[in-house]
């Protein structure tokens, strides 16, 4: 029975991982992806090499151990030996591992040096981490947009069945050309995030106030998904990355479409008034609820009660029941942990959200809060307050 247990342990710990990690099983589920860039492939090979070295050392050490556990038991009637040291063997099993490490360090050094060489890039993409979305800017093209998770709330709340790319899908992926050296400049607008796409072999921490570089040359077209890899607050798990790598022709076409300014594809550098639409109060309220639920509710809660004192309640707050200008100001420009939404949302969205807040949860009760409570905020009001 005991031998069975020892054998099972041995099997589970050694043989199974060996089987699993062999290339036949190099499936997404168990092992790192090989990826589609030279660096990701280098990394994969380094990873497998150090893994096998560990397996070999492990087998060597554990077989001696298991042999002893079975053969050197008192119950077998053995008498214990008395040896207690051997300088030669001590030195041997210090030097040999040291040499193995030197052998490992050399290719690792070379790959690291290659990873750091971002020179002679064909295009430059600035990646900015926000709480809780990514912003991509094509520095040479003048295109900039936010990329937010697009998994429906119903799936998050288990009210609808989860689809294949649950938590790994966004509204606007980062579109990139293959076969070009792309330089990424990574930073953050608020806290530390980390931009990680395993198939590209890139992970860079996004640190506020600093910019870090990475590069990739994508060899194959396809969709590559990643996640934020540094705890950044409540929705750290909900800011995925999707890279849409296209052939050079397809990329050029996409670029042309973007530049032609197709409305539904981008928010321009300076949000403008949508002069064509005239919003009614009801429309603003309804749209505002959507904007609020998708952007404000994660800190201020869907019922407006917030998480004081870090995230004040909007229900019954001085700002949401007081002068409208002060409320527009704080939403546009932010304060401490509250982002400056002026950079992320356009005037329609901000006007709608504020209208929603001023008329929800009893905030428009003029008897309680005075004549200034409630009211409708139009996109023009918001535009007027942008500096």
């Amino acid at each position: 029975m005991r031998y069975l247990r020892i054998f099972l342990n041995f099997f589970l710990m050694i043989v199974l991982p060996v089987l699993i990690f062999s290339n036949a099983y190099a499936e997404y589920k168990y092992n790192m992806p090989v990826g589609v860039t030279p660096i990701s492939q280098d990394i994969y090979h380094l990873h497998m090499t150090i893994f096998w070295i560990c397996v070999v050392i492990g087998v060597a050490v554990f077989s001696v151990m298991f042999y002893s556990l079975i053969m050197h038991r008192k119950s077998r009637g053995v008498k214990p030996a008395t040896f207690h040291g051997n300088i030669r063997i001590e030195i041997l099993w210090a030097v040999i591992p040291f040499l193995i490490l030197v052998v490992m360090a050399i290719p690792a050094t070379l790959v690291l040096m290659r990873m750091e060489d971002t020179s002679k890039a064909d295009l430059n993409i600035k990646v900015t981490g926000y709480q809780w979305k990514w912003q991509y800017e094509y520095l040479d093209e003048g295109i900039r947009f936010f990329s937010t998770i697009s998994t429906p709330t119903d799936q998050l709340k288990n009210k609808a069945p989860k689809q294949q790319f649950y938590l790994m899908e966004v509204d606007k992926p980062l579109v990139l050309p293959i076969h070009k050296k792309i330089r990424f400049l990574v930073t953050s607008n608020d806290v530390i995030h980390s931009w990680w796409v395993p198939d590209l072999g890139i992970k860079r921490d996004a640190i506020p106030g600093f910019i870090h570089e990475a590069w990739a040359r994508i060899e194959m077209p396809g969709i590559y998904r990643g996640v934020c890899a540094e705890l950044c607050g409540i929705n750290h798990a909900f800011m995925p990355i999707v890279v849409d790598a296209r052939t050079e022709q397809d990329y050029e076409k996409w670029l042309q479409d973007q530049k032609a300014g197709l409305q539904q594809q981008q928010i321009a550098l300076k949000p403008a008034i949508n002069l064509e639409k005239h919003w009614t109060s009801q429309e603003l309220f309804k749209h505002g609820q959507e904007v609020y639920d998708n952007n404000c509710a994660m800190c201020h809660k869907p019922d407006g009660t917030g998480m004081p004192p870090a995230f004040p309640a909007i229900k019954g707050s001085r700002i949401a029941t007081g002068p409208i200008k002060a409320q527009i100001d704080i939403v546009l420009n932010g304060k401490n942990a509250m982002p400056a939404w002026g950079a992320q949302l356009n005037d329609d969205d901000i006007a709608a959200a504020i209208t929603y807040e001023r008329n929800s949860w009893g905030n428009n009760d003029k008897e309680k809060y005075g004549a200034g409570a409630g009211g409708t905020v139009t996109p023009a009001d918001v535009a007027a307050m942008r500096k």
């Binding site: 990873h47 008192k74 998050l156 942990a337």
Partner: protein, 549 residues
Amino acid sequence: MNETIDLTHHSAGTHHLPQQRGWWPYVRRWVFTTNHKDIGTLYLWLSCIMFFVAGGMAMLIRAELFQPGHRLLEPDFFNQMTTLHGLIMVFGVVMPAFVGLANWQIPMMIGAPDMALPRLNNWSFWILPFAFLLLTSTLFLPGPAPNFGWTFYVPLSTLYGPPSTDFMIFSIHMMGISSILGAINIIATIINMRAPGMNYMKMPVFVWGWFITAFLLLGIMPVLAGAVTMMLTDRHFGTSFFNAAGGGDPLLFQHVFWFFGHPEVYVLILPAFGVMSEVIPTFSRKPLFGYSFMVYAIIIIAFLSYIVWVHHMFTTGVPLAAQLVFMYTTMLIAVPTGIKIFNWVATIYKGALTFETPMLFAIAFLFLFTLGGFSGLMLAIVPADYQYQDTYFVVAHFHYVLVPGSIFAIMTGVYYWLPKWTGRMYSEALGKWHFWLSVIFLNVTFFPMHFLGLAGMPRRVPDYALQFADFNRISSIGAFVFGAAQLLFLINIIWTIKKGKPATSQVWEGAHGLEWRLPSPAPYHSWGEPPSVEIVEEEKNIKNPELEH
């Protein structure tokens, strides 16, 4: 010379336990005690309580992660659970437990009547319950408890941190003071109070382990205090240590924190190495292989631990030269650690083994800590680390070195020395059930995490993509059974105290060391007269036979 010590006459043992009745004398004893055995007991019970508190948090975490989707916990509360689970396990479970073992064992092992500074010893302990009260109170005050991970990176913990962060900062200050005072005490005791004849290279390796750990603590705790104080001033007094807009740098925090943090994890494991070096020779009935190398390895590991900290920061944009240097030093630390593993295996080899519960835990340590060491070596390879960092691969690594590493070593020590402390044998049947359930289900919990990390699951997330669902479910089931199994440990300890079979002085056939010369239970005041030089020589020769030549 008579082989056995005549204990009734020598004050090698006197019972002076207060015998008064009533609750007030009881409370007074435990609040004001300066006795190293009582204080050791206090540390161990605190650690046990904190183990179940932080363990409960782990159960909540794994319950949320049992399936994808938002299930039981709000994401913010989930972040509070991961943060407090880490803080309490590191500062409230592993560290106090090892200090408890140190308090109980060091004086008895070196032939000293008590620690060098008994009153300081009392204060070192009593700071802790208040520190943890302060920390856990944040769960019951308005606003979130600390929710930024046990590593509390800025600016998430400064500009964006909740008010409870300040409670955490003061709690850490208190724990730090406790550790510093305890470390001073241990160093003073070991240097000054060894019995005549007990030279440094004759000390049990457990004592060496703690001697070096104490120096590590002295070096790092003030650094942690500095880090959290800078956080405090950034939050409230207008400084910009960590704020780029004011000329500071968020990475400064990481450097200061990890300069503390890396040696800290060696604080969590060196005493464990010490325990192993006591237990494995006992149940192999063979001296420890390579005593000197074992001691030197501990010293080298401690020194190297100060020069590897950037390996927690490889993806933060530190310069290439820094990444290379720290890759080399991090890989280097595998060498002395490997020596220790090889020496323990060589101790077992050609011994005459029996498998009582302490030995079972020790063997599991040897096997599974080494697995944790392998994943650590993989993490040291910087380019590969870019794919591992902040994923479940790291979570797997540190849980392998902490759970079958530190926690198992603590349990090994408790099972091993409990008969000496209480005079009663624990239940071997309960011990074996505890062991097998723990070792099997910790592997079910943590082994799949290697795969999850490699497949792309990040850390500190309450929800995950569908391809991670299967292994998360397996891991959660493992966690629930593992957690439940720890109750067997608690039950065994209580049962032992109340109903255990009386233990002999020797307890274990192969045990050697001054503590086994004392009766079981060890007298309240032991070694009032130091052991004779002959006895020390005898023990020395058995523990470090190299000196005979």
